[in-house]
């Protein structure tokens, strides 16, 4: 069946305007000549930014006594979405009854599109790291969002002379950056000052040594918390004099910092004391530097262990201590919000606080209007009083 030729629906006012007939003729020609519009915007961006990735563990690489690398490939096979060195993956995980997620920096090179490596170090008592290190085996499947994060080298203003301070598994994004530099022969210098607990807990030690030997633009110094007899390298603290001694003058260099967040205030202080402006220091979000009651906005005299009641609109109510991040309690009570970075930055775990009061950790990257209109990033929000929250649960699994 063919339709009659297209006739535009012309407003009577147009008939009083010079040139209206010409416009009508052009529209008729367009209708006859143009193909149907593509309207699958979502499908078109999937190769760059997938909503969900189905991944399978294809290798488990023992790095140190505390650390393994999980090598993940696309369950259905094929290339993974591109990422920038320094970005992370938010892995959906179920441990027992708790559905949660964790963000892990990708340690593999962005030049490799067939796998992502996530390098996981055991956190004593940690729910997810212990599960991933002890329970996961080859062939296990995970889902995740696409690669995320802004802890990456930006050629626009970062320059080519870079310093990286890494602690523990915080070396993962540095490793991805270094691998990219050497594989592509990029004209960038990177000095890595890498802190580990002991000499047998240095992740990627052999590979870093080999790269350093072959690539003069990559310089690595290890700093140990507990030096063994015979250790000739540096020992903590990584203070301003030691930074200068190992890395040289900082002028003009972009400095990346990735490790436990509680160490950031000290390291930033040391870097700034060497004349590095704040805008030349970039820190990867990694949980919070100060927990209640040390959170800067924590009201004095309020007991962080005291219990409050949280009610979820359309869901159930439960009790939790004030000084705990809201998201953990929501997850333990079977109502996980969507989440990715879990460090206050990405905003995926945003919930509405309908009543009561929350306080945020310093790391919360809230919009001005979210503070004004009563929204919280539940991963770094602490309920000061009984609260009611509203959100749609995350769509993991």
């Amino acid at each position: 069946m063919t339709n009659p030729p297209y006739t535009p629906s012309v407003n009577p006012l147009a008939r009083l305007l010079e040139g209206a007939d010409g416009v009508v003729e052009r529209l008729k020609a367009h209708a006859a000549n143009q193909a149907a519009h593509r309207a699958d915007a979502r499908a078109e961006v999937e190769p760059y930014h997938p909503r969900k990735l189905e991944l399978t563990v294809t290798e488990l690489i023992d790095e140190t006594s505390t650390t393994k690398t999980l090598r993940l490939r696309r369950t259905a096979g094929g290339s993974l979405p591109p990422f920038r060195a320094g970005q992370y993956l938010s892995l959906d995980v179920q441990v027992g009854d708790v559905r949660t997620n964790r963000a892990f920096s990708i340690s593999s090179s962005p030049t490799r599109r067939d796998h992502y490596d996530l390098t996981v170090r055991r956190l004593p008592g940690g729910l997810v790291s212990n599960y991933l290190l002890d329970e996961v085996s080859i062939g296990d499947r995970f889902t995740s969002g696409g690669p995320m994060g802004t802890f990456t080298h930006d050629p626009l203003f970062h320059g080519d002379d870079l310093l990286f301070l890494a602690g523990g598994s915080g070396v993962a994004p540095a490793m991805s950056m270094i691998r990219e530099i050497v594989e592509l022969g990029l004209p960038r210098r990177m000095t890595l000052l890498y802190g580990s607990r002991r000499s047998d807990d240095i992740i990627f030690q052999d590979e870093l040594e080999a790269i350093e030997r072959q690539h003069p633009n990559i310089v690595v110094h290890h700093i140990l918390a507990q030096a063994d007899p015979g250790w000739t390298g540096a020992v903590k603290p990584l203070n301003a004099p030691l930074i200068v001694k190992l890395a040289g003058p900082l002028t003009g260099r972009m400095t990346y910092v990735c490790g436990p967040a509680y160490k950031y205030p000290y390291l930033v202080g040391e870097l700034e004391s060497l004349g590095l402006p704040g805008r030349r220091i970039r820190m990867e979000a990694n949980y919070v530097a100060k927990s209640p009651p040390d959170t800067p906005d924590w009201p004095s005299g309020v007991d962080p262990t005291g219990a409050v009641t949280v009610s979820v609109r359309g869901g159930k109510s439960f009790q939790m201590p004030r000084g705990r991040e809201l998201i953990y309690a929501l997850e333990e009570n079977g109502m996980p919000p969507a989440a990715s970075c879990r460090s206050g930055e990405c905003g995926d775990c945003r919930v509405k606080v309908c009543s009561g009061e929350v306080v945020h950790a310093e790391e919360a990257r809230l919009r001005t209007s979210d503070r004004r209109f009563g929204y919280a990033h539940s991963c770094v929000a602490y309920p000061l009083t009984d609260i009611e929250v509203d959100f749609q649960p995350g769509n993991y699994f």
């Binding site: 339709n3 297209y6 006739t7 535009p8 629906s9 012309v10 407003n11 009577p12 006012l13 147009a14 009083l16 305007l17 010079e18 040139g19 209206a20 010409g22 416009v23 052009r26 529209l27 367009h30 209708a31 143009q34 193909a35 149907a36 519009h37 593509r38 309207a39 699958d40 915007a41 979502r42 078109e44 961006v45 190769p47 760059y48 930014h49 979405p81 591109p82 920038r84 599109r113 802004t150 930006d154 050629p155 626009l156 203003f157 402006p277 704040g278 805008r279 969507a338 930055e345 905003g347 945003r350 990257r365 919009r367 001005t368 209007s369 979210d370 004004r372 209109f373 749609q392 769509n395």
Partner: protein
């Protein structure tokens, strides 16, 4: 259907928010569904480090005096919830070595500046601005009085200049009045807010833009576009409306040829007497409806007669220096590399030449609350179509972004020397970014390509309910931008309420 509402609104972009708030406050039980974790669509912001960045709002038209947007926001009980700032000028227009003018927001002051730029043209300038004003006011008025066509016809008969010039391109009319290319460029300053260069934009549309900004003055809002979205949500919820975030609609359900509800991503169905779709017309009619056969054939043909419009490539910069240190005195600067319109056209369609044009917006001449003290948020926006970005392989994308950002920054440094050295945060959004976050075909930021053929005068079907029970409110059915979108969506819903539907 598990539950039933009077109205379901798909998408909490500005059109959806205005519709939902108007209908809920008009007594219709309304469910507003949004697939993102944040309401507002493009009227949102994001945070990087110490900075918050405005995604879409450059200058809010329609807020000053008896502006149409002010009237709607007053009626929706939104104005009082926000802090408004009036820009000191219209804009600054800058071409290195050629033009540097600040345009005031009054007609006589404007004539003075143009006369100063190109002495000896005053009579033509005054006459030209009179026609612009008359045509602009005519369009702004006619557009909201389509229910009074006989009266509108009589009025238009008395406006010979409007009848003569409205449908010509802005460029044709400029060429008729002036020879000085600098003067023509300055008069075309606002072309980018419609996404169409002077040789393609209708005189009447350019006149509408300029008139709206002069007559109602450009405004900013503290907290930016997201604050406006959140204020609309607050008013909607206070009136009893229900917003569900992280909830994607995958289908509009029909029953006997009428829209009757929606299916959600999780499989749930929800019923309603009226479905309002703020998704693009093409998406709504050809992808979301469970039975596209309910859409009249001429409506689908009409979609084919139009083209997806321009998108943008925006470099968001958090700068560790004050506006004063950077030399910003105007919130908005239109920056062209040269006087050659063709180079801007090529730049909109390719990545091979240096960026030829930018809207440079500084949100801290009067602070909108997004940058820390002593710092500045600067956004460099280029009008670009999605095609050159879409043609890149995914693995080429990051390098292409870096290279184009570099080119945008090079051009910006002709206006703000030393800008690069003070950057603390930088993020580039391309047409693919807009496509990703807004689901608009081609990442279009103003809906269909707004050349002369896209005028509402030739698309009466945009303002009709072409499928019973289904109303479309997106910028694919009206002129793009905050004022048009909010005002049109709200007024159309008031019309429905008035007719008791």
């Amino acid at each position: 259907m598990s539950t039933h509402y009077d109205v379901i609104v798909i998408g909490s972009g500005l059109g959806g928010l205005a519709a939902a708030t108007t209908l809920q406050r008009g007594g219709r039980q309304t469910l507003l569904l949004e697939r993102h974790s944040v309401p507002g669509g493009a009227a949102t912001s994001f945070v990087r480090g110490r900075f918050e960045f405005e995604v879409s709002l450059h200058q809010l038209g329609g807020m000053g005096g008896h502006g149409p947007l002010r009237a709607v926001l007053d009626e929706l009980d939104v104005t009082r919830r926000l802090e408004w700032l009036e820009d000191r000028d219209l804009c600054r227009t800058f071409v290195p070595g050629e033009v540097d003018v600040r345009l005031p927001h009054d007609w006589s002051g404007l004539a003075d500046v143009l006369d100063g730029l190109s002495p000896g043209n005053r009579p033509q300038i005054v006459r030209f601005l009179e026609i612009v004003r008359e045509t602009g006011l005519w369009q702004l008025t006619a557009r909201v009085n389509l229910h009074r066509i006989p009266e509108q016809l009589e009025w238009l008969k008395t406006l010979p200049d409007v009848r003569r010039y409205a449908l010509r391109t802005f460029r044709e009319v400029l060429d008729e009045f002036f020879t000085d290319e600098r003067l023509k460029l300055v008069l075309s300053s606002y072309w980018s807010y419609n996404g169409q260069l002077p040789h393609r934009i209708a005189f009447m549309d350019m006149a509408r833009l300029l008139t709206l900004y002069v007559e109602t003055r450009p405004y900013q809002v503290v907290g930016g576009g997201q604050a406006l979205s959140s204020a609309l949500v607050e008013s909607f919820e206070e009136a009893g409306g229900e917003l569900r975030l992280n909830t994607e609609v995958v289908q509009i359900l029909t029953d006997g040829g009428s829209a009757a509800g929606v299916r959600l991503e999780n499989g749930d169905t929800v019923g309603a007497k009226l479905v309002v779709s703020n998704a693009p017309s093409t998406t709504t009619y050809t992808r979301l409806l469970d039975d596209p056969g309910v859409v009249p054939a001429h409506v689908l043909q009409g979609l084919r007669a139009r083209r997806p419009g321009a998108s943008a490539t925006c470099l968001f910069l958090g700068v560790d220096a004050s506006p004063k240190e950077l030399g910003f005195t105007a919130a908005t600067t239109f920056l062209s590399a040269n006087l050659d319109e063709q180079s801007v056209l090529r730049g909109a369609n390719s990545l091979t030449e240096p960026c030829p044009f930018l809207i440079v917006t500084c949100y801290d001449v009067q602070p909108t609350g997004f940058a820390p003290k002593g710092c500045t948020q600067v956004v460099l926006s280029a009008i670009q179509y999605a095609e050159p970005w879409e043609s890149l392989a995914p693995e080429e994308y990051a390098a292409a972004k870096a290279s184009y950002a570099e080119s945008q920054l090079d051009l910006a440094e002709t206006l703000v020397p030393g800008l690069r050295d003070a950057i603390e945060e930088a993020e580039l959004a391309t047409p693919l970014t807009f496509k990703r976050y807004t689901n608009q075909p081609g990442g279009a930021i103003y809906g269909f390509d707004q050349d002369i053929t896209d005028s509402w005068l030739f698309h009466d079907e945009d303002l009709r309910q072409n499928v019973p029970g289904l109303l479309l409110t997106s910028n694919w059915t009206t002129a793009g931008g905050y004022n048009s979108n909010l005002v049109t969506a709200s007024r159309r819903c008031q019309g429905l309420l008035a007719r008791g539907q």
